[in-house]
């Protein structure tokens, strides 16, 4: 249970006053703002009282007390600013893509080695949408956050707002940073696995005809366990068909033409199916596997082209030409010719 400031049960008038103080954010420099938390407002009020007593009386012990308490808040402020300045770029902890219409929970590690335990709140604006997150530092940095976008496309993050009350929870330090990053918001995946599964079962049958070397992505159920003689010996998997799916070329052709009168929804579903196919094939992709979006073809075996395919899927618009090539699986909204 996190500590709740409301548990202080302060009188309402004091709470209102504190809330008013907490809302104040003083711009101290370009990209920097400073405010106080509720405990910070109480602390600063007490400190003001100490200084008034010290100035009024000339009591050097009160000066000493005031200096010590002030140093405490000053060092706390400095440490907070230092932490925000040291906060590394967070894009390494970001995913490559998210899906539209789904609350995406993000989690990633951040390269920052520190002895401090600290928390940094993050808001990263991308047009109308916003990624909110929290960077927790305790020996290692972990970024957790959430992002939600209704709309498919490419979210361009630019203005990052980092805030922390580290280390004493007295100051609220806000730092605005320009950190640009693109995040592809993919269409919501529309499963059509039943059809694909049926197709595979039909192709495979129950008999296996040979063995081949295990590759990453192969189902463990297909591993021939009895053939494994030692830890060092390689794994082998059973081949159920003479034309193993690993060897077959995968191709999906997506017809981006949108018949007149149809709204955006069928088009998004079409892209969602294409995205589902992409995700399904991702573990088995090899050179020569193709995704054709209208007139553009992507070799999914190539990492760069795969990334380009993701971007193209995220930003696809209805086209006017039929998909190029022939064969493979065709996804289309057009009536068959």
């Amino acid at each position: 249970m996190a500590y709740n400031h409301a548990d202080l049960r302060l009188p309402p008038w004091l709470l209102r006053l504190l809330d008013w103080m907490v809302r104040i954010e003083l711009p101290v420099s370009t990209g920097w703002r400073i405010g106080v938390t509720r405990p910070g407002a109480l602390y600063l009020s007490a400190l003001t009282g100490v200084w008034m007593a010290a100035f009024y009386s000339g009591n050097n012990l009160l000066y000493l007390c005031g200096s010590m308490l002030f140093s405490l808040v000053a060092v706390a402020l400095f440490r907070g600013v230092q932490l925000l300045r040291r906060t590394p770029q967070l894009d390494s902890a970001m995913p490559e893509y998210v899906e539209a219409g789904r609350q995406e929970i993000l989690q990633g590690r951040v390269s920052l080695l520190t002895d401090d335990s600290a928390s940094v709140d993050m808001k990263w604006h991308a047009g109308d949408s916003m990624l909110t997150g929290q960077l927790r530092l305790a020996e290692r940095g972990v970024l957790t956050g959430r992002y939600f976008s209704e709309v498919r496309g490419c979210a361009r993050f630019s203005r990052q707002e980092l805030s922390t009350s580290f280390p004493l929870g007295l100051w609220r330090i806000i730092h605005f940073k320009k950190e640009e990053r693109e995040l592809f918001v993919m269409p919501k995946a529309v499963p059509w696995s039943d059809a694909l599964g049926e197709l595979r079962r039909f192709e495979q049958g129950d008999e296996w005809y040979g063995l081949r070397e295990y590759v990453l992505g192969d189902a463990l159920s297909r591993v021939h366990w009895r053939k494994i003689t030692s830890v060092d010996s390689g794994w082998t998997v059973k081949r159920f068909d003479r034309s193993d799916p690993q060897d077959q070329q995968r191709m999906l052709r997506v017809d981006l033409r949108l018949p007149k009168g149809l709204g955006e929804e069928p088009f998004e579903k079409l892209l969602g199916k294409a995205w589902y196919w992409f995700l399904e094939q991702l573990p088995h992709l090899k050179d020569g596997d193709l995704l054709i979006l209208g007139e553009i073809s992507f070799n999914l075996g190539d990492a760069q082209q795969r990334a380009a395919a993701i971007e193209a899927l995220a930003s696809s618009e209805p086209g006017s030409s039929a998909p190029i090539g022939s064969g493979g699986i065709l996804l289309s909204l057009m009536d068959s010719d």
Binding site: A2, Y3, Y56, S119
Partner: protein, 631 residues
């Protein structure tokens, strides 16, 4: 009862420590009753040992608070000082807060009450020991605030930062405190909230003194500290050695003791005015006069004036200088003192009282005449009397006959300074020489460590002023064996301790705007004098810093593992920043990717996980193995 959050459990002892440091700081004050703070400490210890199980509900604790409020009201009605009554209230309130159930509000209360206790102590004590609970208070406030308000973030509390990591900040905080303390301006609007101290109890500095009440104990209580304002220490020591510090002059003898003569023409000086006794100029000395139960200002031989009277004061015709109101705190006075050891100038002519033979016992008159047979002048008479008495025995414990104290002293020839001064004064009067007794201090104790003089209560002394050749002159008939006695134990330790206390008074309690420039000048002088040493020190610091930055000594100060790994990484073309973990680095040149991944996983597991930490030898062995795994 709701389960306590991890923060509240963790903060329990921290906020308790904040409160305890406040109590300790206030316990240093002599104004606070030991009953209050010892009871509070007992409750705090019980809470510390038994934890939140030893607690009262908020309602029950509030009853204690209200009871304290009523009790303090009664105290005020009975005439107790409001600041002391307020402190008592805070201590009672602290009792309630200590044993209250551990809620967030309770923790806030503890911190606030702890702060008020520390601030109250700043007014009610001037002890040098105050610095320790104050420093501890700051440290615990830091940790408690971090625990309560810094680490409780949405999504679960973070672990506390290790105290060693936080301790690295303390020198910076110390430097900032010093800078603020020195540079901030002082506005001396009023003195009501200045640090106060209980008045030191003395006897013999009043209008009437019975024989035997003055200077009969070897009391080591410090009454004054004297240090030079400028100039070298050795010349100051020579200047001050064996000086008489003149306090009260007593002229009327009533058979059992002395009384002051009423004065009709007092000279008055207001606060801040310069007090001039003569036109001469001498060396400036600073006197730290402890708060005492008498208002008299001790004036050393050869004093020519006081710069800026710290309080309003007046002087009677017999040369007794006194504050109009006895100060309740330590006073710093700057006096000018000349090398010549003349008795205070400007005193009135002798009065009839100072020549009165009415109370002189017959035995004293007879003894004076017999002792001075053959003397041709008053000076010779005085010399013969003094020389005679200097051969007698000095005895602090000699009994005094209340009916005829001087007569019995004349018979036994054993006694303390007051009796010697009385006998000499009465003898001179019987011979027709005006004389009076003066009570004050003599000499003092040189502190080798701090280079200053201490005047203790054991240095209280009586001597005689006689009117000779148109001037008041001082005569002292007390045997010199008096000054071989001392009540100070552990002299070496005492010197160090007193030196620390004077530094505390000088540089903390009495720090003023005018000291800032002086401090700067001293710093410049020291810098000039020790320029070579400072430069060498800076050079060494720079070397250490560069070494630190390069990672050579980083292992000493931080984690010893990293420098080895960093050197290995640099050999393989990777430069790691201090904050970068290995997993974020690119693949080192010539190293197999799988082996590197395996190494990083094992490294993190031993560094952050549950695996045993690698020794330096093991790290080197792992890195050698990694180097052999060429891709």
């Amino acid at each position: 009862m709701q389960p306590l959050s991890s923060q509240l459990i963790l903060a329990e002892r921290l906020t308790l420590a904040v409160l305890i440091t406040g109590v300790i700081s206030l316990a240093l004050s002599d104004f606070v009753s030991p009953v209050y703070w010892s009871l509070l400490m007992l409750l705090a210890m019980l809470r510390f040992l038994r934890g939140p199980g030893f607690s009262l509900s908020e309602m029950q604790a509030s009853f204690i608070g209200w009871a304290g409020f009523i009790w303090v009201g009664i105290e005020l009605a009975l005439g107790r000082a409001w600041i002391v009554a307020f402190t008592d209230f805070l201590l009672i309130l602290a009792m309630a807060v200590v044993i209250e159930s551990p809620t967030p509000r309770n923790h806030l209360h503890r911190m606030l009450v702890g702060m008020f206790l520390v601030l109250g102590a700043a007014v009610l004590t001037d002890s040098v020991l105050y610095i320790f609970p104050l420093a501890a208070f700051v440290w615990f406030v830091w940790r408690a605030s971090q625990c309560l308000y810094g680490m409780n973030v949405t999504g679960g509390a973070l672990p506390m930062t290790e105290w060693r990591a936080e301790a690295r900040l303390m020198p910076w905080i110390g430097a900032l405190v010093l800078a603020l303390f020195i540079t901030l301006p002082r506005f001396d609007f009023q003195t009501y909230l200045k640090p106060t101290q209980p008045k030191k109890v003395t006897s013999g500095f009043s209008n009437a003194v019975d024989l035997g009440d003055f200077a009969r104990e070897l009391d080591p209580t410090v009454m004054m500290r004297v240090e030079p304002v400028s100039g070298d220490i050795e010349s100051f020591r020579r200047l001050m050695i064996g000086r008489y510090w003149r306090g009260t002059s007593l002229s009327i003898y009533n058979g059992n003791g002395w009384q002051q003569q009423s004065s009709s023409a007092d000279r008055v000086w207001q606060r801040g005015e310069n007090v001039d006794f003569s036109t001469g100029k001498g060396q400036q000395i600073a006197i730290y006069r402890e708060a005492s139960d008498h208002p008299y200002v001790m004036l050393p031989d050869g004093v020519s004036g006081i710069l800026g009277a710290s309080e309003a004061m007046k002087m009677d015709e017999a040369g007794s200088l006194r504050f109009i109101r006895a100060p309740t705190r330590r006073i710093r006075m700057i006096m000018e003192i000349e090398a010549a050891r003349a008795v205070l100038s400007g005193m009135a002519l002798p009065t009839d009282v100072e020549l009165s033979r009415s109370s002189v016992p017959v035995a004293v008159s007879r003894w004076a005449v017999l002792t001075t047979v053959g003397a041709s002048s008053p000076e010779q008479q005085i010399e013969m009397l003094v020389n005679e008495m200097l051969g007698w025995s000095y005895d602090l414990n000699a009994s005094i006959d209340a009916d005829r104290p001087v007569g019995s002293f004349l018979n036994s020839r054993r006694g303390h300074c007051e009796l010697y001064a009385t006998l000499l004064t009465l003898s001179l009067r019987s011979l027709g020489i005006p004389a009076r007794v003066v009570n004050g201090y003599f000499g003092g104790e040189w502190n080798e460590v701090g280079g200053f003089y201490l005047i203790r209560q054991q240095h209280a002394h009586s001597w005689v002023e006689a009117w000779v050749e148109g001037d008041w002159r001082r005569f002292d008939s007390t045997p010199a064996s008096r000054w071989q006695l001392s009540g100070v134990s552990f002299r070496a330790v005492d010197e160090v301790w007193e030196s620390i206390k004077l530094s505390w008074y000088r540089y903390i309690l009495e720090f003023q705007n005018s000291d800032r420039g002086e401090l700067f000048q001293k710093a410049v002088q020291l810098l000039k004098r020790y320029l070579v040493v400072v430069m060498a020190a800076l050079f060494v610091i720079a070397l250490v810093w560069i070494s630190f930055r390069r990672g050579v000594m980083r292992g000493v100060f931080q984690r010893r593992e990293w420098p080895i790994v960093d050197r290995w990484l640099e050999k393989h073309g990777v430069k790691r920043l201090v904050h970068q973990p290995l997993c974020s680095l690119p693949l080192p040149e010539g190293i197999d990717a799988a082996a590197w991944c395996f190494f990083v996983a094992a490294w993190e597991q031993q560094l952050y996980g549950s695996d045993r930490r690698w020794s330096r030898w093991e790290i080197r062995r792992h890195l050698r193995a990694l180097s052999k795994n060429h891709c």
